[in-house]
Subunit: 382 residues, 2 copies
């Protein structure tokens, strides 16, 4: 048995030379420096060559400086650790800081992993609902109400989470207002910055957040899975506490986390990542221009207007109508885009879909717009 | 601020062309196929290009076949998932299957991460002590006694763990005997195969194990961190249960785990890994020959005799004596080996150290032996 194993080798992504507009992908494309790093450090446990007991203390390569100096400054927090991703960072913080049975308050647009992290840590979740279409707005005041609802049921609120921005509509809630409300209620606020940390300027301190998670593979040009977890001194001391059984190891991290090439790709991309967050205004302007052009073709932008992020959600009755009679049915859009070497809208979607313009050149976006225009023009509507 | 960031780029391992005898590294060296895979799939979230909701169900690349067919057959288990590593697999199994306050019984040679996983899951640990030097043997009967000790204190034993082999001495305990003892006591047995899965033939079913974890970066020629967790149907159903809040996602995995290039490296190396486990007898023979040669130089092999694994622990009074007067003190051995392009013995160690001969050619091992011989011959002893 165990035959025909060659099917697992020599696999290609099949996206070479294509334009990828998947929001999940735009911020994770490696820099040339990170591509070099991944080849140099790809072997198994390579970062452990010169380890003296803890990954975040390795001085060569300079992981220690990165984790204890560069990242805290970048995230505006006191303590940072590398995690396997934003979700694992959220779980670690919730597991370490909340007691089983407590409640986490989160925004109605929260990523599903916020719910999973809370559930895995034995916590209940109370959502602050988002408004109806087309804006799907989360009102900071909703946090006060959600906290009060939970408290009214006799529950202790262990933490609040704000998805900043959310991964569906790219909406940016007034985090400062949320943190002020949470702190008045004596609740710590965690920002899920999977789509902000590494894309746009975001500092936990100036937004009033006590905790922040980011995603290397989503937004820090890193080879995944990898993320960051930042905390205030007070909360970091609790999350990154030492084990009782193995006193020189951090319990919540199970000793070490990213014992592989991923951390070196995050480091190699970091100078570029720091620079690109300074150009965020241009990215927002480009996203707005793109949305405006899409609307001329009959698609409707959902979420914040004007939009403040490259992640955008569109509704499109015209593409839905085409799908009713198109040869491949609801897969026609995916196939038509693929024909034009444009990837990233999930197969089967036509009536609504999300995409990102992040770090794409205007000419590339013009190619995308021309594709949509041609697809709409050349297909009969139902 | 955030200046001088270029120190995080263009970093080299500095081990090119060297012989690496670090047990942590030998089984994690990528195959040429895996090196191709890592470059092709290095971008952020690349494996999610064609995702329809769960990583282990992705058909292109064929992750589904790999996780649900190839790996279960390879590990002789019913269900497998990819984890961030062996330690994360142990935590997932303990967290899902044991109730807080229960006790995990483990061998006295257990890797520290077994203790961390249990502690993080809120469990106590009862060890079956290993014997004194030089053999550090774990007697299967010790499991019966440890289980009885815990039960005698009124504790429920939630799981037993056997480190197979342990990471210090490379000792292989009679797993079949341990599993029979555990099952008579109605306790499930988990094998920690971080140093066996991918190196030597190891099947959970024929050893009587209910659970098994392996390490991609330690022993499956994969870019870490990555591991595997296998379970019987009964236990797998519990560990890989769906979330109540997000019903299409597996709770204990936080939805998806290895959403990056690592899984593609494990797949690309898999045909080679399957083949190399068939040559295990040659690896053992080579290790025994090497140990014999080392003993001629005055080092003493610890652990199983004859030895059954490439991971070996040596004691060396002669190198210790040299370190008493050597120029660099206890760092002399590391430096002398480095001069000869041999890496993998931790800086500062002389009196005892571990190394591995895995997949090294006889000529390379002869180079290592000649280096030790020369170092001993050319240094005055205290």
């Amino acid at each position: 048995m165990l035959d025909n194993l060659n099917k697992f080798t020599c696999l290609k992504r099949g996206t070479a030379g294509a334009i990828n507009i998947d929001p999940l992908q735009r911020g994770g494309v490696l820099t040339p420096e990170a591509r070099e790093a991944v080849l140099e450090w790809a072997d198994g446990y390579s970062v452990c060559d010169f380890c003296t007991g803890a990954m975040n203390k390795i001085e060569n390569p300079p992981i220690k400086d990165f984790v204890h100096q560069a990242l805290p400054e970048f995230l505006e927090v006191d303590q940072v650790r590398i995690t396997h991703g934003a979700r694992e960072g959220m779980f670690a913080a919730m597991h370490a800081l909340c007691e089983k049975g407590e409640t986490v308050v989160a925004d109605g647009n929260a990523h599903y992993t916020t719910l999973l992290a809370a559930e895995l840590a034995g916590l209940k979740v109370e959502l602050t609902p988002a408004s109806e279409k087309p804006d799907y707005r989360v009102d900071p005041q909703g946090y006060k109400e959600a906290i009060e609802r939970a408290k009214g049921r006799g529950e202790k609120v262990g933490m609040a989470v704000l998805t900043y921005p959310d991964g569906n509509y790219g909406n940016l809630v007034d985090a400062k207002a949320v943190s002020e409300i949470c702190h008045r209620e004596d609740v710590h606020l965690m920002l899920n910055g999977a789509y902000s940390v590494g894309r746009m300027p975001v500092g936990a301190r100036c937004l009033g957040a006590d905790l922040i998670v980011g995603s290397g593979h989503k937004s820090m040009a890193s080879s995944g899975p990898i993320g960051v977890l930042g905390a205030t001194e007070e909360l970091g001391t609790k999350i990154f506490r030492r084990s009782k059984l193995v006193p020189n190891k951090e319990l919540e991290m199970l000793g070490c986390t990213l014992r592989g090439a991923g951390i070196l790709t995050m480091m190699a991309s970091f100078p570029h990542v720091v620079e690109r967050t300074k150009c965020w205004d241009e990215e927002v302007e480009k996203a707005r221009w793109f949305a405006n052009e899409m609307e001329k073709l009959g698609m409707t932008l959902q979420g914040d207007r004007p939009h403040n992020h490259d992640l955008m959600f569109f509704k499109s009755e015209v593409l839905y109508e085409i799908s009713q009679t198109a040869k491949k049915g609801r897969y026609f859009l995916y196939r038509e885009l693929k024909k034009r070497k444009i990837f990233g809208i999930k197969p089967g979607l036509t009536r609504q879909f999300k995409l990102s313009t992040y770090l794409l050149a205007r000419e590339e976006l013009e190619t995308v717009l021309a594709a949509f225009e041609e697809i709409v023009a050349t297909h009969p509507k139902a």
